[in-house]
């Protein structure tokens, strides 16, 4: 069995892929976004529900590979129940890991199951798969936090 392949497809990733957490689209929500990876066609529709600066729920409907599906599942585990600011820091940490070309040592305290994605950073073609739902979550959260500001930015 190939070691490279096992570095990419950690058991944790395959588990999340086969049994994704928090899947499905739920009410209530303050923002919904639809993100697509144009090179491969992977798609995610993602909703966020925030209460008093806290992530109450993240729900999603996604089509895509094991990496993108597992990543969405891990994302929801990590951010649901956290203050938005903390969740954004987790997002930044995950992004740094993915963009680190395999040189960044992941912090298990912060990323929990997310550390399983460290191997993905060595497969340039798959980094976008891992980031799809994270980008969608950030986009949705920013527009839920400050719909007017976000609208201005996008103008």
């Amino acid at each position: 069995m190939s070691t490279d392949l096992d570095a990419l497809y950690q058991e944790i990733i395959l588990d999340h892929y086969k049994h994704p957490h928090h899947r499905g689209l739920r009410e209530p929500f303050e923002a919904e976004v639809h993100h697509v990876n144009p090179t491969c066609g992977d798609e995610v529709t993602l909703r966020v529900h925030l209460t008093d600066g806290r992530v109450d729920d993240v729900s999603y409907d996604a089509l895509g590979c094991s990496i993108s599906q597992a990543s969405a599942s891990v994302l929801t585990d990590l951010v649901i129940g956290k203050p938005v600011d903390d969740a954004m820091r987790i997002h930044d940490e995950f992004l740094t890991l993915m963009q680190g070309k395999g040189q960044v040592e992941p912090d298990e305290e912060v990323l929990e199951d997310g550390i399983a994605f460290a191997g993905v950073a060595k497969f340039p073609a798959r980094i976008k798969c891992a980031l799809l739902s994270w980008m969608a979550w950030k986009d949705a959260t920013l527009s839920a936090v400050d719909p007017v500001e976000t609208k201005k930015e996008s103008l």
Binding site: S2, D4, C40, S66, Q69, A125, R126
Partner: protein, 421 residues
């Protein structure tokens, strides 16, 4: 196995990349030729020789190197004309790629001229087009007020011709379709459709990006009413370099279309008020063209002609039949598109329930096997079959049966890796 190129082992040695090993020493199994083909040594050497010994700008340099470069570029045009069986060599226009060729057609048809498309007119395409033969026509329709219509696909991946009478009518100004589908592999009856389109006075545009590598093309030998008016293909899929594509067009049609890009080389004379244009093909070749790429393409089509396109087609059919047979031994695997190798090209898209195409491609890649995963720039065709993406293997003249065996074995391994049993 019947139908393989007689000197396949020798042919494979012409392609230096095929001797590469990948990952933990796996020999490269290149099954992504519909994406881009590999290049034989003769194409690489011809391009290097041109750059080392004959480099100059063409048609404007008044020195020996300029003359040599111009001759090499124009000889490449002769070679491509002969490869297509073009009635006239000046009907061959060099562009950047097939996408640019199709955009040239869709843009110049929107502009003032004898062929201008307008409100009330209809443009007919098909659901199995590559995005490059969909989007330019959508843009044309948005800009001109014309209506876009299309042929659907049957369950077994062929064009649904049952609606031909409703689709091709007096209102039809353009019919643009793919000769060989890059996703389904289907070979379309372009002669029959051209005949119908010409009967109502419509212009026929053929995307030959996947046909040119695989089928012998003899435009001059086609009955006039079945011959397309414009035909596009790209150099890099016919063992040539990237950066060079071809638009062939009937002289009468190319003369009627207005220029696409303005600039040097495409003019006859220029004043501050207006310009007159060079005759075809130069009218459509503004600016310094991809010179060494054209020279490389010339060497590429020469290489194919020496092998013989009939032999290449026989080889592709034999390999495709073998691959269709092998793929269907993989439990659960479904092929999208026709199952008869005689009616299709060498691109085979398939699905394995339970494993996403990206994951299939990554596992195969770890064993040195290169395939494509995704929508292959044919999202509508995927949507028709209710799938978001697929895995595609595509063979070419250098593909050996053992490589198909490696693919099938790799797919078995993929199934076990994702614990599908």
């Amino acid at each position: 196995m019947d139908g393989l190129l007689p000197d396949l082992e020798v042919v494979r040695k012409d392609f230096p990349i095929l001797s590469r090993a990948l990952g933990d020493g796996w020999p490269l199994v290149y099954l992504d030729s519909a994406n881009t083909s590999q290049k034989p040594q003769v194409v690489i050497d011809t391009m290097v020789d041109h750059l080392e010994r004959h480099n100059a700008n063409i048609a404007r340099a008044m020195h020996q190197l300029g003359a040599e470069a111009t001759a090499a570029y124009e000889e490449a045009r002769d070679k491509v004309a002969s490869f297509l069986g073009a009635p006239e060599r000046d009907e061959v226009v060099f562009l950047k790629n097939a996408t640019e060729a199709l955009n040239l057609a869709a843009n110049t048809l929107a502009w003032a001229g004898d062929r201008q498309v307008g409100p009330g007119d209809e443009v007919v395409i098909t659901e199995m087009e590559h995005h490059s033969n969909i989007v330019p026509w959508q843009l044309l329709c948005e800009r001109t007020g014309a209506t876009l219509r299309w042929f659907g696909i049957t369950e077994d991946g062929r064009l649904d011709l049952s609606s031909v009478d409703e689709l091709i009518t007096e209102r039809t100004k353009v019919v643009s379709l793919v000769w060989v589908s890059n996703m389904l592999g289907t070979i379309n009856p372009i002669g029959e459709i051209a005949r119908r389109a010409h009967a109502v006075g419509a212009l026929v545009v053929v995307d030959a990006s996947q046909a040119a590598p695989q089928l012998p093309i003899d435009l001059a030998a086609m009955p006039d009413e079945e011959r397309p008016d414009l035909l596009a293909f790209t150099g890099h899929k016919v063992v040539g370099p990237t950066g060079i594509g071809v638009l062939w067009g009937r002289r009468a049609v190319l003369d009627q279309l207005p220029p696409f890009l303005g600039g040097g080389e495409m003019i006859e004379t220029v004043t501050m008020e207006r310009s007159t244009y060079a005759p075809i093909p130069h009218k459509f070749e503004a600016g310094t063209p991809p010179i060494v790429e054209a020279v490389g393409l010339g060497a590429a089509v020469d290489y194919l002609s020496v092998l013989g396109m009939e032999s290449v087609q026989r080889h592709e059919r034999a390999i495709t039949a073998y691959a269709l047979e092998g793929l269907q031994t993989v439990p659960g695997l479904t092929v999208l598109g026709p199952l008869d190798a005689a009616e299709r090209g060498g691109a085979i898209s398939f699905e394995i329930p339970g494993v996403h195409p990206h994951d299939v491609a990554t596992v195969l890649d770890s064993r040195g096997i290169a395939v494509r995963a995704g929508h292959h720039c044919a999202k509508p065709a995927h949507a028709h079959f209710g799938v978001q993406s697929s895995t595609r293997m595509s063979s070419y003249l250098y593909t050996a049966p053992a490589e198909i065996d490696a693919l099938v074995e790799g797919l078995e391994y993929t199934r076990s890796y994702f614990k599908l049993d």
